[in-house]
Homo-oligomer: 414 residues x 2
């Protein structure tokens, strides 16, 4: 996945440890029986952070979601550490909240902070009992090993069916200070619009109030993670958290000024890249798909249309089969829940080798199947939908539907 360049934002290494004052670590604590696979990760800030998060909208919420919400409420939007495990979602367990609280306490005691400063998260199988024991046994080693290099071990610890670890960080100037913002994410299946999406932890050394983090996060999540669809399912455990420790030394952002916009843009760059990485690594994916929709009467319409295309199983199968079956794209545009004139719609398919127009004014146009096949033979496919009835635009991301998606999810628990 090529990273798109944004003026003023430079990509840097070290993921969640790119920003000053953050360290991380990851290891196997025994939840995952494969000992070479990390299943527990930690992120720590040497200075207390302002923090905010967005959560899954599923009525079934993992216990860690409930506990993190309660912690951030009790601390007044302060946090200093993240503790996260994979392989067990700690969801639909009778003692789930008790376990999650105990994990926070263990983490806090080890790090010398209070339990309400801990963001806790879990991902994995729903409804499998979870005990505190593996956490208790590993906590000291985990904390002792915290380092800047630990971003790698932490990013590995949250992988489930992911085939690659996902980290992005950027450096930018704000109030004359060099700032950094970086993150790590996991996820590939069970990702669906209208939610916080997947597990995602973002750290920054910008000084910014919790309210302003929340404002930026809520806005950006709408046009990044919430425009990602792998399979239309909505997970029970998804969360995006942002922690800001202020070590960059800028004047604290407390209102929607120019600095806020610079921060928001940094968040967008990192989250857009994460979203694209998640799409490209969708369960069983063989192709990355990006659908842009422009010429929409308003942004909501553009989002709904782009997401409708990206979510269509028939379209996703056609992309897997490298078939320029544009009728399915138009069909998915047609059932998008928005008001617009379908007879003005034009569609193009693009990849690195070229672009082909397949539909104009809501009807098919003659095109070379050979040319289309060449374009669709590539790994990154861009679908451009032009509504031709306004100025608003949006993008949505996803992947093709393949044999491997079925295989992975046909025997996930085993």
């Amino acid at each position: 996945m090529t990273k798109k360049e944004y003026a003023g934002y430079e990509y840097v290494e070290n993921g969640v440890c790119a920003a000053q004052g953050f360290t991380a670590n990851g290891l196997n604590c025994g939840i995952n029986p494969i000992k070479t696979k990390n299943d527990l990760g930690m992120i720590f800030s040497e200075k207390e952070c302002t923090a905010a998060a967005v959560y899954t909208q599923n009525k079934v919420k993992g216990a860690p979601i409930l506990v993190t919400k309660a912690n951030l409420a009790q601390s007044g939007g302060k946090a200093q550490a993240v503790i996260v495990n994979s392989k067990n979602a700690n969801t639909c367990n009778a003692n789930g909240v008790e376990v999650a609280n105990a994990v926070c306490k263990l983490t806090a005691d080890e790090l010398g902070i209070t339990a309400d400063r801990v963001i806790v998260a879990s991902t994995g199988v729903i409804g499998a009992p979870m005990s505190v024991e593996p956490f208790a046994n590993a906590m000291h080693e985990l904390a002792e090993g915290l380092s800047i290099d630990g971003h790698d071990a932490a990013a590995k610890a949250i992988m489930t069916t992911d085939t690659v670890q996902k980290e992005v960080a950027v450096e930018f100037l704000l109030d004359g200070k060099k700032c950094r913002l970086g993150g790590m994410a996991k996820g590939s299946g069970m990702i669906h619009p209208n939610m916080a999406t997947t597990l995602n932890f973002i750290t920054t050394d910008v000084a910014i109030s919790g309210e302003m983090i929340q404002a930026a996060l809520s806005e950006i999540v709408k046009v990044t993670y919430n425009c990602l669809s792998i399979d239309g399912d909505t997970s029970t455990n998804d969360m995006v958290s942002v922690m800001a420790n202020g070590l960059a030394g800028n004047a604290e952002i407390t209102e929607k000024n120019a600095d806020f916009d610079l921060f928001k843009k940094a968040l967008y760059v990192v989250m857009e890249n994460m979203t694209k990485m998640l799409a490209a690594d969708g369960e069983g994916a063989s192709k990355f798909l990006e659908c842009s929709c422009d010429g929409a009467p308003d942004q909501e319409t553009a989002i709904v249309v782009a997401k409708s295309v990206i979510r269509s199983p028939l379209f996703k199968c056609a992309m897997f089969g490298e078939d320029a079956n544009w009728g399915r794209i138009l069909c998915a545009i047609g059932y998008a829940e928005a008001e617009f004139d379908i007879d003005k719609v034009a569609v193009e398919l693009e990849s690195e080798v070229g672009t082909v127009a397949v539909c104009k004014n809501g009807a098919g146009v003659a095109f070379s199947e050979e040319e289309a096949a060449k374009i669709l033979n590539k790994d990154e496919i861009y679908i451009h939908v032009h509504l031709n009835q306004g100025e608003a635009s949006a993008k949505a991301w996803g992947c093709d539907l393949t044999y491997d998606y079925v295989k992975i999810n046909g025997d996930y628990r085993s």
Copy 2:
């Protein structure tokens, strides 16, 4: 698929020709290059019928949908014939309406009726040009071959990726008269709730007004076809039409009386069976899935919950893998867009060999994986969701998500 028995309704043969006065035929007119595959079907009533239809809610509507709507409006809800082709949807074609009107004219001229008495429908690839020629060449032979036995050839003519033809008919008493109601349907992929669903033609010899047909159809489609989901896609060409010629001799039903209820029940029995046949023959399906939801505060909630489970790709993959991964069921219940208390929910899995409870009070319960595996090894799986917070119930139908679904839709056009 075993047919469920309903007191007072007896299953009979002959599909759309079960009711008095109806004949049908089907043949290959050359739209499908495979000459042994019927691609054109006709249904004819010797007496003019009252008629009503429900249509796809996709903004992209096939030309035949527009023409049928216009015909029924012009004739004041009267019809006498159906003409339907497969292999080409006549959708997104610049001259689509022109072609569909010409096909109606050809049909009407051949049968000695007016063009506005013709219900026209098409199914197949979207955006492929279609000419009148194959219809013109075949029309005489098609009409000449009309017979009661022709229900079979007609049912075959509407099959696309269907692996079996779909016909159901029932006999029942109404106003002391023996009545029949029967139908044929096609469809397996691109079937999604909130629409008329797939191509479906129903005929009856009951005497009933067009308004009352419409009232019954709109009510029944909501709890049958609209509770069916194969892949979440919504087609551009879907329609269910009902034609009633009154030859049974009952006093015409013109209001919602006891006779109306008997008619509505007949429609339900036929349409529920069709829905289950469509689910069992979903593209690539290896298992039929029925999700019932009871104990709901209202029927809308029950429908939304049952459909949410049936539609979840992750759940569908788990069923393909015969994995009792109930967490995915609870997850799908949790993101259903309805208001209820998730902590009261119980879930059971059932097949012909037994039932296993997997979840109570919104949390997992211990169960034998071996027993669950035996149950899920069967071809028809029943998922029972008990919300335990009301009296309303509903069912939804679907199938598992398999390698073959991906294969079929990866190279549909070729």
